[in-house]
């Protein structure tokens, strides 16, 4: 038996192996007409959340599982989803669904766009696959070979004892209380402390005429919140893998508490244009909102994105530093031995994960796609078909979105910043894909003079979050410089991908999905903060 530090891969649960066979048997019924393309997606997400605050400890044990039957008739993607997985119900559901699609007239005047499902030969020749994916595909793979992708992990989260998990969280709270005085907080200042750990296993199966795929992802997250009256700081770590993804170091707790102490005497920012150094999470939010959302092909296909027009015209929308990638295949985030938060092996429409450049030195490339948007726009498919859950519809969504790294160290960028602000803590963001506006929320700013932190902290003009706003190309032309991935070292980067934070993303004000947000430190000049 492997010990806790050996690397293992997450296998598909045995009950799902049997379900996979049942679902495979239903595919011929779904492809009832020669022109139809049918597929089946099954998802099961199970999570345990352990939480502790100064008054109580708690456990929430949640699960959700359902199957989505899909028929694309060349015009419309029809879906029928259910969580009743009995064979009798699945057979009845498929029969009713096929009848519903047969009864749906084709829209007059619309274009027929047939979809030929890719074979494994097509899949393996459509660009370079990450070794983590390629090495899990059998050499003699055929359309009916079950191909399973399992996430690597060291410390098995499924063996986590609830009592031990809660004791560790309580120990974190205790540590925060003990460290508070040396961070400048009186005992009475720390009015609320909470810690929350979530461990989840997420399994999915995708079946179409060309492939039988499954994946098991293990998702870990840990959040610590400290408050003093209404001032609040929080720390969040997470990734895909084992419990090694949620280790918190004591200096991170010290920073959390020092920032909380500083917030108690924070100044209010005078709105205006400033020089600001974004930390990795904020540069990730900027990438996500700038040419992440507007490079989602379903938004383009709906006529709702300016990026589609700018891609066609080749107009420059940023300077030489403005290179943005989306990559669901980050299996080592920032050189750490676990996968980035927004990663997976294939998306929820069965497309294998690959890195994609969305913006190349200020020029737009083709957008990210899901099945129907790729067909409507006539561009290549990418692994960005995602849904909030099996019960929600599929959209083109981002995975891990970030700027390409630069060459500077953090110390070098602080020196280059001179007088301005360091911004490390995000507070949401919003896209404006057609109007090209941008909003990046910042919890608070740390003042920098002469390249060094002054210890002064600034909140927004009304005492809340600060918003960076502006016209997206203007913001992307204001990038002065970027850091390396390993920003503390002058040596060349050994890590292939930057660190990505554990974040989430909504689309059109709903449809919440996990998304990684990270990248390098990034220096911006003359950006509007208010």
């Amino acid at each position: 038996m492997a010990n806790s530090t050996q690397t293992q891969r997450a296998a598909l649960s045995s009950d799902l192996i049997a379900l996979r066979e049942t679902l495979l048997g239903l595919l011929p019924q779904l492809e009832a007409q020669p022109s139809w393309y049918a597929s089946i997606f099954f998802e099961r997400k199970r999570s345990k959340t352990f939480s502790a605050n100064l008054k109580q400890t708690n456990i929430a044990d949640q699960a959700s599982a359902g199957v989505v039957f899909r028929i694309y008739d060349g015009y419309t993607l029809f879906e029928r989803a259910t969580d009743d997985l009995s064979a009798q119900n699945l057979n009845r559901t498929v029969a009713e669904f096929v009848q519903r699609v047969k009864n749906s007239p084709h829209p007059e005047g619309a274009t027929l766009r047939a979809y030929p499902a890719p074979s494994w030969k097509d899949r393996l020749s459509s660009g370079e696959l990450d070794p983590e994916i390629k090495n899990q595909i059998p050499a003699d793979v055929t359309a009916r070979t079950p191909v399973h992708f399992g996430i690597r992990f060291m410390e098995d989260p499924r063996k986590l004892d609830a009592g031990i998990a809660l004791e560790k969280l309580k120990a974190l709270l205790d540590r925060c209380q003990k460290l508070a005085p040396e961070s400048g907080l009186k005992e009475s200042d720390l009015t609320y402390v909470a810690a929350r750990q979530t461990t989840a296993d997420e399994e999915s199966i995708f079946i179409d005429r060309g492939s039988v795929l499954s994946q098991t992802l293990l998702r870990q997250a840990l959040t610590v919140i400290t408050m003093s009256e209404s001032d609040r700081t929080h720390l969040r770590v997470g990734g895909l893998g084992g419990l090694e993804a949620i280790e918190v170091e004591e200096n991170e707790l010290r920073t959390l508490l020092k920032d909380l102490a500083a917030l108690k005497s924070a100044h209010k920012l005078t709105p205006g244009k400033y020089r600001v150094l974004f930390g990795p999470v904020l540069s990730g939010v900027l990438a996500h909102e700038a040419f992440g959302h507007s490079q989602e092909a379903d938004t383009c296909a709906r006529g709702r994105s300016k990026a589609w027009e700018l891609y066609a015209s080749g107009e420059k929308v940023g300077n030489e530093h403005a290179t943005i990638l989306n990559n669901p295949a980050i299996f080592e985030t920032g050189g750490k031995p676990f996968a980035a938060w927004g990663s997976y092996f294939f998306d929820e429409e069965g497309w294998l994960a690959q890195s994609q450049v969305l913006l190349d030195h200020g020029r737009l490339k083709a957008p990210m796609t899901n099945l129907t948007s790729a067909l409507r726009l006539g561009v290549a498919r990418t692994a960005n078909g995602k849904r909030e859950s099996w019960a929600n519809g599929v959209y083109t969504r981002q995975t891990n979105t970030y700027f390409s790294p630069g060459k500077k160290t953090l110390a070098g960028l602080m020196s280059e910043l001179g007088d301005g602000f360091l911004a490390l803590h995000p507070a949401g963001g919003m896209e404006d894909p057609k109007g090209m506006g941008i909003q990046v929320g910042i919890s608070y700013l740390q003042e920098v003079k002469g390249g060094a932190l002054t210890g002064r902290v600034f909140k927004g003009p009304a005492g809340g979050d600060i918003q960076l706003t502006g016209y997206t190309p203007d913001v992307l032309n204001s990038i002065v410089d970027k850091s390396k991935i390993e920003f503390d070292s002058p040596e060349p980067d050994k890590a292939l991908h930057p660190w990505n934070d554990a974040g989430g993303c909504g689309k059109y004000h709903k449809e919440f999905v996990f998304a990684g947000c990270g990248g390098p430190y990034m220096l911006l000049d003359q950006v509007i903060l208010g």
């Binding site: 969580d83 749906s104 209404s230 809340g464």
Partner: protein, 445 residues
Amino acid sequence: MKKKGATAWIITEEHVHRRERYFMLDRDALVVDQDRDVHSYNIHLKLFVDIGRPGRQGEISKKLFTALPLDEQLDAAIVAAKQTDHQAWSLPLQFPKEVPDIKTSDPRIAEDMENVMAQLTQATGKAVARPRESRFNSAELFLSVHDSELHLSNGLRHRSSQSRIYSEAAYSYSRKKPNGAVESDEYLNTRWAVNLDDLAIDRLFDETADRARHSLDTHKPVTGHYPVIVDADVLATLFNNHLSQLSSANSYHGLPFVKPGDELVKNATGDLLTITLDPSLEYGADTGAFSESGVSQSPFRLVEKNRVIATATDKRYADYLKLPVTATRGNVVVEAGSLSHEELTRQAPKVLEILQFSGLFADPNTGTFSSEIRLAKLYENQDGKNVKTTYVKGGSLSGSFTDNLRAAKLSRNRVKRSHFSANNSRGEGYYGPEHILLSDVSIVG
């Protein structure tokens, strides 16, 4: 359910049926890009156990599966719950025999969702076909019915049903600039409702198309402090957020808390707020007869003319803090003001009306809020008369509930708003002024 080790339990069963369509144009033909039909059935258990310490108990929330052996699931829940540690409390011992007849589900949707989807699809087609200067881009239409049953170990059993409707429309407008380049912008409008009569699909499309038409006639705001009008959508968010400070949960956990007797807005000089939690509002997003812990709900006034008069307290916190049990759920109902929308726009030489924020972020702890301005109108007035109105886009607004509501003026017209999100099984409802005029709000251009 009787199980050794369990002292009490709450079970919620929910069957959800959803129908969804995404619409867009294909060579000028309106097409359905995706058509979805979803059935789900969930059983959630909240279990309470004795942990052998006086005044303490264990608790767990767990999803149960009918396909798995129930005993094993319950045994696992009890073992896990015994690891947790809460101050003890008990479920209510009394509940009414008669439940008031409240309207939570549109019978047209509950009885024939397919027919309603067909009717709304037709209405969408007609709205799209209407000649306009702006161009239709896309729409979404979601219908769902949530049939729930609440079972408590104290004997309470209650069935309820809620219908939900979501509709969105996006229009864009483009024109050629003198240099030949094409400029374009769009407007996206969304609306949640519980019954069809509150949806007003034609109005949604008309308003969206009109605002898209003006999306290019904009200028950035000049940095400064303005009187600002925001609408009921914004008010619904701000009030639903801020009222957590009037809850005994906040008091117990040491979170920001405004106690009875205090002013909600310190030193208020404008219209004084009167706020009621109303769980009986017809077709409200948070209309319901019982709280999740089985407490019977009825309208409950929290704020009277800006003075906080009560603390929303469910049974758990009533036991913890030795307070009376009150309603804790309900739609936020705010008394109307006296001014018309037009009068609000003329209250100062310059008044900015926010038509839409890009993404409003409101902090329930600080009461602050901020957002980029997606579209706004700037009214310039002289001698109380409007002399110029222009459209504004860009820049951001930064506000504070306690500072910017001090001299607020409320409109006399009231509207209902609903909102549902994935992370909350209950919706957020609002019935109150359609507009509010905030004072001295920081705007950066």
